[in-house]
C-alpha cells in the first residue's frame, strides 16, 4: 500500500490557479503528493497519465473540457479514477460523467472531507 501511494500521484487539472493551489495545499495537509496542470492538453502532453492514481479535474476549461479528457483517457484504455469538481454542475452532466466511469462529481464549493474520502477510496482501489 505504501509503495502504491508512493508510486502513484494525485493529478489536478484546473484552469483556475487559486483552485489548483487550494487543492494541492489540501492534499499536502493530509500527506498526499500531487501535481497540477492548468489544462487537459498540458496533462496529456506531460505523459504523467501512468503515474496518476487519481485525477481531480474541472469540467469547464478553455480548450479541452474535463469530460473530453476523461473520454480521451478511456479511449487510450487509461482508466484513472476521476473526481470532477465544477461550478456549473447539472444532473445531465453528472450522469454523463458517472456513466463514463467517474468516481465522484462535486459542485464548488465542496466539502473537502467528502473530496478527501473519494481520493482515498480511489487510491485504495
Amino acid at each position: 500500500m505504501a509503495t502504491q501511494t508512493k508510486a502513484k500521484l494525485v493529478t489536478i487539472v484546473d484552469d483556475d490557479e487559486l483552485m489548483r493551489n487550494a487543492l494541492q495545499g489540501m492534499l499536502k495537509s493530509v500527506g498526499l503528493p500531487s501535481q497540477a496542470f492548468a489544462s487537459a492538453e498540458e496533462f496529456l502532453k506531460s505523459g504523467q497519465q501512468q503515474q496518476t492514481a487519481c485525477l481531480i479535474a474541472d469540467i469547464r476549461m478553455p480548450g479541452m473540457s474535463g469530460l473530453e479528457l476523461q473520454a480521451m483517457l478511456n479511449a487510450e484504455h487509461c482508466r484513472i479514477p476521476t473526481i470532477f469538481i465544477t461550478a456549473h454542475g447539472d444532473t445531465k452532466m453528472r450522469m454523463q460523467a458517472l456513466r463514463a466511469g467517474a468516481v465522484e462529481f462535486l459542485a464548488k464549493p465542496f466539502d473537502d472531507e467528502v473530496l478527501l474520502d473519494s481520493v482515498r477510496a480511489a487510491l485504495e482501489n
Partner: protein, 645 residues
C-alpha cells in the same frame, strides 16, 4: 506788295479817267461825224443840237470834268468848222454851250446827291432788316426753349407721377392744372379742368371729409398743408395720392391762391407696405427661432442695428436703444467672457467669420445659452468695417440635448444591466471559483492547526491563500458593481488595453462556458483616449457578448481575438474577431439599426448603443466578415481629444 497793289489801283483809276475823257472826245467826234453825214445829204446844219446831245451824254455818263472838256471841244469845233455864221451867232452858240454845260453840271450834281441819299437809305433799311431778323431768330429760340422746358416739365411730371396746380383761394376755381393732374387724379383733359366739387366726388368716400376740411382750413388760416388721400379712378382703381400745397400772397399780404402738387404714391405705399410686412415676417421668424440679429461697428465698438428679438434674448427693453449693446457684456457669464472675447478678437484680426457659444445671466437669475455667428463686412479698400450676424437662444436645444444625453445614458445602463443579466451564470461561476478555493484553503489551514503538533508555517501559507482568494472574489464583485452603477458619464483619460483586459476577465468564464478561447493582441504603445470608462467597457462587453453568441453553435475552433493598435490620423483601432456564424447575409448594414436582432431573446439595442457610444467619443464602429470564418467588429477612437465639452 503794297507798291504793286497801289500800282494796280492807280492803273485802274487811270483807265477809268481815260474812258471818261475818251467819252468826251468820242461823243463830240460822233456829233461831228453825224453833222458831216447831215451835210452830205444837204440837210440843215444840226451840229449845235448834236453837240449839245454829246455834251449832255458826256456829263451824264462821264462826269463834270469830261463834260467841260466836251463843251470846250464842241466850242472849238464849231469855231473851227462853222465860223461862217458871224461873231454874234458864234457867241450865242458859246453861250448856249456854257449855259447847257452849267445846267448839266447842276443836274449831274443833283443826281450824285440823290444817289448818295438813296444809298444811305438803302443801308439804313438793310440794317433795320437785319435787326428784325435777329429779333425774330431770338424770339424763335426763346419759344423753342420754352417749349422744350415745358416738355421736360411735363415729362418730369409724368415720370414722377406728380401734377402741379394753382387754386384761387377766394373762389375755389382752378387757375392752373398741369397735364399730369388729369392723369394722376383720373380725369379726361378733353373735359377741361374739373370743378373742386367734381374732384371731391372722386376722392375715396372715407377720405372725402378729411380733404374738404383740410382744404377749407388752409384757405381760412392761410397755411401750408400736406396730406394723403385715396382717389377712385373711373375704372374703379384706387390710387394713393400725396398732396402738398403752399399759400401765395399779393404784395399787400392778402391770400391769392394755393399752389401745390399731387403725387401718385401708390407704388411707394405698396412697396412700404411690402417692406413693413417683410419686416414683420422677419421679426416673427426671429421670435420663433429665438434669433436676434445685429450689426456693429468695429472701430467704434457700437451697435448699428439690433433686432427686437435681440433685446428679448438679452433681457433688455427696446427703449434702452443701442446702449444696450454695450451693457450686454455685463450679462455674459463671467466664465465665458474671456473665451468669447478671444474668438471675436481673432475674427477681427483675421477679418474672418466667427462662431461662439456662451451663457448669459439675466437679471431675474435665469441663464441662457447663446450661439452667435458673425460675418465681417469690408470696405472697398478691404478694411474691416462692421460685423453682421445673429445670436440664437439655444437654451431649449441645450436642455433637450442634455435630456437626450441622459436618456441615452439611461438606455445604455439598462442595456448594460440586461447584458449583465445574461452573464449572471458566468459571473456566479466567476465569483464561486475563488470562494470555493477560499473554503478549501481555510479547511486546510484548520487541518494544519488541528494536528497534535500544529504546523504553523503550513497554516500561515494556507491562510495567506485564503486572503488571495477572498481578494479575488471582492475584485470581481466590485468590477461587476461598477457596470451596474448609475452614474453620469465621467470624461477622463482611459487606457483601452486596460479596459480590454478587464472585460476579458469579466467575460472569461462566459467564454469558457462555451469552450471559447480568448486571445488578446494588444499594442504596447497604445495612446490613451478621452472617454467614459464604463461606456467603453460596455462597448467591449457588447461586442464580446455578440462574438460568444455567434460561436455557441458552431463546430470546430471557437476563438475570440481582441486586437488593439495605433491607427492613422491620431486614432486607435480595436477589433473584436470571432470564428462564429458571421454577419447575417444581406443584412450586414442593418445590424446597427435599433431593434435589429438575430437572437431569440435579444433587445436589438446592443450594437445600436455601442455605435452611439463610440460616435459620441468621436470614433466609428463598423463590422465585416473575416476572410476565413466569422465576423470582425472594428472601432476607432481619436487619441488627440483634449476635452469633450
Amino acid at each position: 506788295m503794297t507798291n504793286s497793289v497801289a500800282g494796280k489801283w492807280f492803273k485802274r483809276l487811270a483807265a477809268y479817267s481815260a474812258l471818261r475823257y475818251g467819252l468826251a472826245f468820242a461823243s463830240i467826234a460822233a456829233a461831228l461825224g453825224l453833222a458831216r453825214v447831215f451835210l452830205y445829204f444837204h440837210l440843215p446844219q444840226p451840229f449845235g443840237a448834236l453837240a449839245l446831245s454829246a455834251i449832255a451824254i458826256t456829263f451824264w455818263y462821264g462826269g463834270v470834268k469830261p463834260g467841260i472838256v466836251a463843251t470846250v471841244l464842241a466850242s472849238l469845233l464849231r469855231y473851227y468848222r462853222w465860223s461862217e455864221g458871224g461873231v454874234v451867232s458864234g457867241a450865242l452858240y458859246d453861250l448856249v454851250f456854257v449855259i447847257f454845260a452849267l445846267l448839266m453840271m447842276e443836274l449831274t450834281r443833283s443826281r450824285s446827291e440823290l444817289e448818295v441819299r438813296v444809298a444811305q437809305r438803302t443801308a439804313d433799311l438793310t440794317r433795320a432788316n437785319e435787326v428784325l431778323n435777329l429779333e425774330i431768330a431770338q424770339r424763335k429760340e426763346a419759344e423753342e426753349k420754352l417749349r422744350q422746358s415745358e416738355a421736360y416739365l411735363a415729362e418730369a411730371q409724368r415720370l414722377s407721377q406728380t401734377g402741379s396746380w394753382a387754386r384761387v383761394s377766394a373762389t375755389g376755381e382752378m387757375r392752373y392744372w398741369s397735364e399730369e393732374c388729369y392723369r394722376v387724379l383720373g380725369f379726361d383733359p378733353r373735359d377741361g379742368q374739373p370743378r373742386f366739387e367734381t374732384f371731391l366726388q372722386r376722392v375715396h368716400s372715407d377720405d372725402r371729409a378729411k380733404v374738404r376740411e383740410i382744404t377749407a382750413a388752409a384757405g381760412r388760416d392761410k397755411i401750408d398743408y400736406e396730406t394723403d388721400y385715396r382717389i377712385v379712378h373711373p375704372g374703379g382703381e384706387i390710387r394713393d395720392i400725396h398732396v402738398i400745397a403752399h399759400p401765395v400772397f399779393n404784395p399787400s399780404g392778402d391770400l391769392v391762391e394755393h399752389v401745390g402738387t399731387v403725387m401718385d404714391v401708390t407704388d411707394r405705399k405698396r412697396a412700404e407696405e411690402k417692406l413693413r410686412q417683410s419686416e414683420a415676417y422677419l421679426a416673427e421668424a426671429q421670435k420663433l427661432t429665438h434669433t436676434g440679429s445685429w450689426v456693429w461697428d468695429v472701430a467704434e465698438r457700437r451697435a448699428l442695428h439690433l433686432s427686437e428679438e435681440w433685446y428679448r434674448i438679452y433681457g433688455f427693453d427696446q427703449k434702452d436703444g443701442m446702449s444696450a449693446w454695450n451693457k450686454r457684456l455685463e450679462r455674459i457669464h463671467p466664465d465665458d467672457r474671456a473665451r468669447r472675447q478671444q474668438e471675436i478678437d481673432r475674427a477681427t484680426n483675421e477679418k474672418s467669420d466667427y462662431e461662439v457659444e456662451y451663457r448669459v445671466l439675466l437679471p431675474n437669475g435665469a441663464a441662457r445659452h447663446l450661439h452667435s455667428v458673425g460675418h465681417p463686412v469690408l470696405d472697398a479698400s478691404g478694411h474691416l468695417v462692421q460685423f453682421v450676424g445673429s445670436s440664437t437662444d439655444i437654451t431649449d436645444r441645450r436642455q433637450a440635448e442634455e435630456a437626450l444625453r441622459q436618456a441615452q445614458a439611461d438606455l445604455a445602463r439598462i442595456s448594460r444591466i440586461t447584458t449583465m443579466g445574461e452573464l449572471t451564470a458566468s459571473l456566479a461561476h466567476e465569483v464561486n471559483q475563488p470562494i470555493a478555493a477560499a473554503v478549501t484553503d481555510a479547511n486546510t489551514c484548520l487541518r494544519w492547526l488541528n494536528r497534535n503538533e500544529p504546523d504553523l508555517q503550513e497554516a500561515r501559507e494556507a491562510a495567506s491563500r485564503v486572503v488571495k482568494d477572498a481578494t479575488r472574489a471582492a475584485e470581481i464583485i466590485s468590477r461587476t458593481r461598477l457596470l451596474f452603477k448609475k452614474a453620469n458619464p465621467q470624461w477622463e483619460p482611459v487606457d483601452m488595453n486596460e479596459i480590454i483586459r478587464e472585460m476579458v476577465a469579466l467575460m472569461g468564464s462566459e467564454a469558457a462556458r462555451y469552450s471559447i478561447s480568448v486571445r488578446m493582441e494588444l499594442a504596447a504603445d497604445l495612446p490613451q483616449v478621452m472617454g467614459d470608462r464604463v461606456q467603453l467597457q460596455q462597448v467591449l462587453m457588447n461586442l464580446m457578448m455578440n462574438s460568444i453568441d455567434a460561436m455557441k453553435e458552431v463546430d470546430g475552433t471557437r476563438e475570440l481575438v481582441i486586437h488593439s493598435q495605433r491607427g492613422k490620423n491620431e486614432e486607435l483601432v480595436v477589433s473584436v474577431s470571432d470564428t462564429g456564424v458571421g454577419l447575417p447575409p444581406q443584412q450586414a448594414d442593418q445590424i446597427f439599426d435599433a431593434f435589429f436582432t438575430t437572437k431569440p431573446h435579444g433587445t436589438g439595442m446592443g450594437l445600436r448603443i455601442s455605435r452611439s457610444i463610440v460616435e459620441s467619443h468621436g470614433g466609428r464602429l463598423w463590422a465585416d466578415n473575416n476572410s476565413s470564418r466569422g465576423a470582425g467588429f472594428h472601432l476607432t477612437l481619436p487619441t488627440n481629444v483634449e476635452a469633450h465639452e
